[in-house]
Every structure is written in structure tokens, then in C-alpha cells.
């Protein structure tokens, strides 16, 4: 959490990141940028999935449908926030010559997506049958 607050300060004072360490090889920065973009696409896919659940599963009960949609949208928002946070932390670590930050976010996201997928299968199969 303390790390998150620290990187949050960097978001709004971007010139500070240039003050630390040395500029790394541009190729490392570009690779970091592509990783950031891949996370943004994951976030966009989750947001799109949330929109799609609301529109293409109209047979579900309102509460279930809205609950699933909002869960996916919330996951998308978290994913986008994490994308920019992780990008800035990696950029800073490269400037300082430190190890890249590790994170348990990928594991948490995978488990969340798996749970939502199983819930959707159950809802669609039993929703149709019942």
C-alpha cells in the first residue's frame, strides 16, 4: 500500500521520475510500454465483457446480470489502474538499476476470471434448464 501511494505521487509529478538514476536503454522502455499496453487491452477486454454480459444475456435475472457486469467492469478498472502503476514502478526500477517489481496481481486476476467464467457457465446452463 505504501508503495502504491509512492507511485501515485509519481503519476501527478511526472518530472520526478526523470530526476532519479539514469535513462535506461530505449528498448527496455519500449518493452515496458508494450507490457503496459497489453494490460490496458486486458482491462478493455474486461470492460467490453461487462458490457456484453449486460446486452447478450437478457434471460438472466436483473440482479445476477447487473452483478456479473459490474464485477467485470470493476475488474477492468482495477486492471487499468494496475497497468499504469506497474509501468511507472518498472520504469523507476530500471532507472535506479534495481530488480523489477514482482506482483501477485496476475494470479488474483486469473482466479477472478476463472471464477466469473465458471459462474457464467453455471448460470447459462441452469438458467436455460430451469
Amino acid at each position: 500500500m505504501r508503495q502504491f501511494v509512492q507511485s501515485l505521487r509519481l503519476w501527478f509529478a511526472p518530472q520526478r521520475i526523470g530526476d532519479e538514476g539514469e535513462t535506461p536503454d530505449y528498448r527496455f522502455s519500449l518493452a515496458n510500454e508494450r507490457t503496459f499496453l497489453a494490460w490496458i487491452r486486458t482491462a478493455l477486454a474486461l470492460v467490453g465483457g461487462g458490457f456484453a454480459v449486460d446486452q447478450f444475456l437478457p434471460d438472466l435475472r436483473w440482479a445476477v446480470r447487473v452483478g456479473l457486469s459490474l464485477a467485470l467492469l470493476a475488474a477492468g478498472v482495477l486492471c487499468a489502474l494496475r497497468a499504469v502503476n506497474h509501468w511507472i514502478r518498472c520504469e523507476r526500477a530500471m532507472r535506479r538499476g534495481e530488480d523489477l517489481p514482482v506482483s501477485r496481481f496476475p494470479a488474483v486476476l486469473s482466479l477472478t476470471v476463472a471464477v466469473v467464467a465458471v459462474a457464467m457457465v453455471v448460470l447459462v446452463v441452469f438458467g436455460r434448464a430451469g
Partner: protein, 111 residues
């Protein structure tokens, strides 16, 4: 967005791993994803016909999509050199902000 012509001086100076090109294509893919989400958002806004909330949703979706497009376009232009500068924090925060705002608009409409 064509790169330098083969055999020109700029081509000799090019990154052999094509890193700027790959990054540019990553921005294009991301813009495409954003377009899909914006179109789904517009569809979401018109579930109940042309209501006031629907028109507002449409306008916001379009605005956020254009915002993302502008950020991506600026960055794609900046990547058109052999040694591009680092992505600015402002651009990263703006791209993220457009994504989050799309999600929030959708959540309000779904609710």
C-alpha cells in the same frame, strides 16, 4: 505511417529488433480494442431507444474514444524515429483514464 525507405540513411540507423514498430502496432491494437468497447458502449446506451441518458452515454463514449485516439495518435507519431523517447506519464495516465471512464459510464448505464 510508412517507415523509412529501404536503402536510405534512416533505414541503416533502424533498430534491428524493430522495437519502435512493434510498439506502434501495440498502440494500434489497443486503439482497436478501445473502438470495440466504445461501440459496445454506444449499443448499451440505446437499449431503451433514444432517451436523454442514452444520448449522453453516446456523446461520452464518442468523446472518450476520441481522447484515446488522440493519445495513441500522438504516441504513434512520436515512435516514428529510430530512437524514440520514453512514453510520457501524462499519456499513460490519459490512456488509463479513458479506459476507466468508459467502464464508469457503462456501469452507470447498466445500473
Amino acid at each position: 505511417m510508412g517507415g523509412p525507405a529501404p536503402g536510405s540513411a534512416a533505414a541503416a540507423d533502424r533498430d534491428p529488433g524493430l522495437q519502435p514498430e512493434r510498439t506502434r502496432l501495440a498502440w494500434r491494437r489497443t486503439t482497436l480494442s478501445c473502438t470495440v468497447v466504445a461501440v459496445l458502449g454506444v449499443k448499451l446506451a440505446f437499449v431503451d431507444g433514444a432517451t436523454a441518458a442514452g444520448v449522453t452515454g453516446l456523446a461520452l463514449s464518442a468523446l472518450l474514444w476520441i481522447g484515446f485516439l488522440a493519445v495513441a495518435h500522438r504516441r504513434i507519431r512520436a515512435l516514428d524515429t529510430a530512437r524514440p523517447r520514453v512514453l510520457s506519464v501524462r499519456a499513460a495516465v490519459l490512456a488509463t483514464g479513458c479506459t476507466i471512464a468508459l467502464a464508469v459510464c457503462g456501469a452507470v448505464l447498466i445500473w
